[in-house]
């Protein structure tokens, strides 16, 4: 119970700090964030957008790891874990896409401009979408688990290619990308110490939240299966 209270306080602090702390040219007080050229007030999205993008990748990774495990041990609980991770993954993936697009409207002038990161998150959304479409088309639990595991591993091995080819094909606009000249809060850490602190607290808070949700998610899937089985006999 204690950690749930801790998580509540942590996320409350992150939300309040992330939204309310002012950005000033030369920070002097502990609650002031520095001014990053090219980003201005928009910089605050980092506290919410980056954790969602980070979690959509973590969820994809975990879903693949449990797919591997399923193929190795043929234990349906692993499939439930993989499924629960992907369910959260697609939620965070949509959140990251939407928050990113809204931010892009103000920073770049349009919601969507096929920046490498936008394309990558779009590809991730497509993979998640295809994965759920595949799962919903298969009746038998074992077949569903085996086929979706195979698909998620195949999708996983294609992901590194996006990392390599996207920057060659499209120009990067995103802060932190290779040809970004004016602002690189992710790569160069132009943030000051307290901004970094809030950023990492946010990352930690959202990650704990994710694991908590995942835990509840896969347990509920397993219980649902077991209850269904008892009803059907």
């Amino acid at each position: 119970m204690a950690w749930k209270i801790f998580l509540f306080i942590l996320l409350t602090f992150v939300c309040v700090a992330g939204i309310a702390f002012p950005i000033v040219p030369v920070p002097t007080k502990w609650y002031e964030f520095p001014f990053i050229p090219g980003l201005k007030e928009n910089a605050k999205i980092i506290f919410f957008h980056v954790p969602t993008a980070w979690l959509s990748v973590i969820a994809f990774l975990m879903s693949t790891i449990y797919s591997f495990k399923y193929l190795k041990n043929k234990n349906l609980d692993d499939d439930a874990k993989s499924y629960a991770a992907a369910q959260l993954g697609i939620i965070f993936c949509v959140l990251a896409t939407v928050t990113g697009a809204v931010w892009a409207k103000f920073a770049w002038g349009s919601y969507w401009s096929w920046d490498p990161r936008q394309t990558s998150i779009f590809a991730l959304l497509l993979i998640y979408g295809a994965w759920f479409a595949l799962r919903s088309s298969i009746e038998s639990e074992e077949k569903r688990a085996a086929l979706s595991s195979v698909y998620s591993i195949i999708a996983f091995v294609t992901v590194p290619f996006f990392v390599f080819i996207m920057p060659r094909i499209m120009k990067g606009l995103h802060p932190g990308s290779a040809d970004d000249t004016n602002s690189g809060p992710v790569v160069d850490f132009k943030m000051n110490a307290n901004m970094e602190l809030v950023f990492f607290l946010s990352l930690i808070g959202f990650t704990i939240l994710y694991f908590w949700m995942w835990n509840i998610g896969y347990k509920s899937i397993i219980y649902k299966d077991k209850i269904n089985k008892q009803i059907r006999g």
């Binding site: 043929k74 349906l76 038998s140 639990e141 074992e142 299966d225 059907r232």
Partner: protein, 211 residues
């Protein structure tokens, strides 16, 4: 004697979280006929498919030994002949073409004598060049025996071998079973009294458990 042995150790099968059968163990060596019986839905077909290596058990292990050496799953198909009502051959080819292609895909020589003998036995020789789509279901069933036996398997699995067959067909099947069981292992999954009367040993599947 074929020197082949099949060991089934504690296998269980679940479909999803539904139990089909549990803790099944038996062993059969060299030659003989083993029967598997049980009500519809008791898992007869599932069991023989697991033995043939087409399905995998949820737990437990099946060991196929040839001359005391364990057969790896990739090579298992060389040792097994399988007949069942749900086995389908290529409708767009004739019986002869079907068997020819299957021999090539197996990587064995197409033994004309053996195939002619089998087709003769199952009264298919006059129609060997007709496309399978023109065959009746009984003729298709008979052709499956030629398909299953052409590579001289050591373990012959027959799932409902006499379904769709007329008296002449059944006689041919019983003759073949008798012939093959002298040197090889034959497993019959069926509920027909006449099929099961050939068996030396019988496994009954009921209430998720072997009796």
């Amino acid at each position: 004697m074929s020197n082949y042995s099949l060991q089934v150790n504690n296998i269980s099968k679940f479909f999803g979280r539904r139990l089909i059968f549990k803790d099944l163990s038996f062993e059969i060596n060299n030659s003989g006929v083993l029967g598997v019986s049980g009500a519809n839905g008791s898992g007869k077909s599932t069991l023989v498919k697991i033995i043939a290596g087409i399905n995998s058990p949820s737990s437990g292990k099946i060991i196929h030994l040839n001359k005391q050496a364990e057969i790896i799953p990739e090579k298992l198909h060389h040792y097994i002949g399988f007949v069942s009502p749900y086995l389908v051959l290529y409708e767009e080819f004739s019986a002869w073409e079907n068997l020819n292609y299957f021999a090539k895909i197996r990587g064995i020589k197409f033994n004309t004598e053996k195939i002619s003998y089998l087709l003769e036995k199952f009264l298919l020789m006059p129609r060997k060049d007709d496309l399978i789509k023109t065959y009746s279901s009984g003729m298709k069933q008979r052709l499956k025996f030629a398909f299953a036996l052409m590579h001289n398997p050591d373990l012959i699995i027959l799932d409902e071998p006499t379904s769709n067959l007329d008296v002449a067909g059944k006689d041919a099947v019983y003759q073949i079973i008798e012939e093959e069981s002298r040197t090889n292992i034959v497993i019959i999954a069926s509920n027909e009294e006449s099929d099961l009367s050939l068996c030396e040993k019988e496994i009954k599947l009921e209430n998720f458990k072997p009796i």
